[in-house]
Amino acid sequence: MSKALLYDSTVCIGCKQCEQACATQNKLPYDDTVALEEQQSAHKLTVVLTRNDKFMRRLCMNCKEPSCASVCPVGALQKTALGPVTYDPSKCMGCRYCMVACPFSVPKYEWGKLFPKVQKCTMCPDRLALGKQTACAEICPTGATKFGERDDLIAEARQRIHDNPGKYVDHIYGLEEVGGTSVLLLSAVPFETFGYRTSLSKDPLPMLTYRVLSHIPDFVPLGGMVLGGIWWITHRREEVALAEGPKPTDKTKNGRES
């Protein structure tokens, strides 16, 4: 079964310990200046946003059917059975199609480096492999970020919305967005406040390109046959014309080939 994170913004106190734990886990620098940065970047893979005393985390959603992994020409990004969408920098050639394709604009690039990597939250795959929870969930003092089985967390999120009428926006963000994600969000204020798109399709986006790509194996032999057929007809026509009575102009032009 696949693991997931449930973030309940009404429980969050904005202590930003998840940011710090994430930085430590991913060997990135973290100090007061970084703590004040209000956006995800190549050195800040998760961020706790504050709008009018309301908090909201942003991190990679680790989609069930991720656009980034689908578009990566070399398979540097992979969706694992356990839940995380992982990244292998040794495969990456730096085309940055993942950054263009991600519906949440999550992957960030090390623009300042000569040998740059893509950076994003990968849901602590090393910790999960050892049976541990993610660094951010482990450190969270209030349980706002909770780690568990995706199905269990969905049931719990539904329960929380049901038990506290009026407290939450009636929506589990990530349940259906782009086919579902491994990060689920609950909020007291509209998700757009924190830059989350709520108009996203319920279908996985990789379908859109695969629908076209899947025709290629049919197209190649078909195209070859059609073009070959046209070539045969046009040249056969010429042979026939030549046999029946060659025109001098045709002959002179036939002499040149490229």
Partner: protein, 397 residues
């Protein structure tokens, strides 16, 4: 007379050298300090002019190669044979330059070979990478008889001629695939790309416009070559290309407008705004003006009418590619992208290099059929030099 020619020559040579110097300095910055220092790219705008112009437009502008080889070798229309060599040369140079540009744009260019062994068949980029790689090889082979003839290597020449037809068919299939796939690349961003440019028909639009630009570039290039290399203009051939261009543009226009109307994007075009202005610029240059011009038989049969219609089509679809890849993203990302001078310098250097290589190839290889005959007529020592002027004159296009 000679003085004027001399002046033009030195002027364009100076421009060429300046472009090269700026480009080389930008290259130095790119490969010693990275993408951050040499571009205006950002996390919000990961693809800039090197993708928009050098790759998307580069591949599109080289589409004459597959259009014309199909016309001559598959459809057996022999009248077009006289212009096939310069067209293949342009296509080959175009694809080589696309590959050069990719080396600048990729974050880790030394991993460019990775798609060969690390395959993800679900990725459009993977398919484009394979097609471009294979098609560049096909173009090199299609171009090789010209070089082999020059050095009179009969044996390899025989081999290439024997496989020419399967090669041409393979090239047309590869081109169909990756020309359309450059549009498919953007199918995965329905919520990011502006409705003027996001359409499920993007692959069809990219393919049809590649054919239109392929024809237009062939007209453009034949006209320029005839002017600057002192060759006879193949007017009947160009008129025929013009007629086909009208049909392709017409089909494209109907599909494009129908699609905009179906998706409800057409009414957006009448609300003034940044995107609407660039949309109208594109539609006017690519569809309205050339169709109005080319539908008049008088324009369609005159060398100047054909030339300017072709220029409009080329500029129009360059605008289209820039709109799809830059303008269309500015709304959703909330960032305005304008290339840094170093990005422009690299692009300028690559274009200038392309023109210079074309000039050199024409000078040393049997590209134009009448070259031999003309050689005796123009014997003054300056005759080989003025090619630098057409080389640079349209470098900024």
């Amino acid at each position: 007379m000679t003085r004027v020619t001399k002046f033009r020559f030195t002027f364009w040579k100076l421009v060429f050298l300046l472009l090269m110097a700026a480009g080389l300095y930008a290259t130095f910055v790119r490969f010693t300090q990275g993408l951050g220092a040499s571009t205006h790219l950002s996390d919000q705008f990961p693809w800039g002019i090197w993708i928009s112009f050098d790759v998307l437009c580069g591949v599109m502008l080289a589409a004459g190669g597959f259009t014309l080889t199909a016309t001559v070798h598959i459809f057996n229309i022999k009248r077009m044979h006289s212009i096939i060599r310069p067209t293949i040369l342009t296509a080959f140079l175009g694809y080589v330059l696309v590959c050069v540009a990719l080396m600048y744009d990729l974050g880790k260019p030394y991993n460019i070979w990775h798609p060969l062994i690390m395959r993800n068949p679900h990725s459009v980029m993977f398919e484009v990478a394979y097609c471009v790689m294979l098609y560049t090889t096909v173009l090199a082979l299609e171009f090789s008889p010209i070089v082999l003839e020059r050095f009179n290597l009969q044996k390899p020449l025989k081999v290439v001629r024997a496989i020419l037809i399967p090669l041409v068919i393979f090239g047309v299939i590869l081109s169909t695939l990756h020309q359309s796939s450059l549009g498919t690349l953007y199918l995965i961003v329905p919520e990011k790309l502006h409705p003027f440019w996001y359409s499920p028909l993007l692959p069809v639009f990219f393919f049809l416009s590649a054919i239109a630009v392929g024809l237009a570039m062939t007209i453009f290039e034949s006209s320029l070559s005839s002017k600057h290399f002192g060759l006879q203009l193949e007017l009947p051939v160009l008129q025929e290309l013009g007629r086909v261009l009208v049909v392709v543009l017409g089909v494209y226009a109907i599909l494009r407008i129908e699609d905009l109307a179906n998706r409800g994007a057409l009414k957006l075009a009448f609300h003034p705004g940044y995107e609407a202005y660039l949309f109208w610029l594109e539609i006017s240059l690519a569809i309205i003006l050339p169709l109005v011009l080319l539908l008049q038989p008088r324009v369609r049969s005159s060398p100047n009418g054909l030339y300017w219609s072709a220029v409009l089509v080329v500029l129009g679809f360059i605008t289209n590619r820039m709109n799809v890849s830059i303008t269309g993203f500015e709304g959703s990302t909330g960032v305005r992208y304008f290339p840094k001078w170093t990005e422009l310098a690299v692009t300028g250097m690559i274009i200038a290099g392309g023109f210079a290589l074309f000039g050199l190839a024409v000078k040393y290889l049997p590209i134009f059929p009448t070259e031999e005959l003309l050689h005796d007529a123009v014997t003054e020592p300056e005759s080989a030099l003025p090619e630098v002027s057409p080389v640079m004159e349209h470098a900024g296009d």
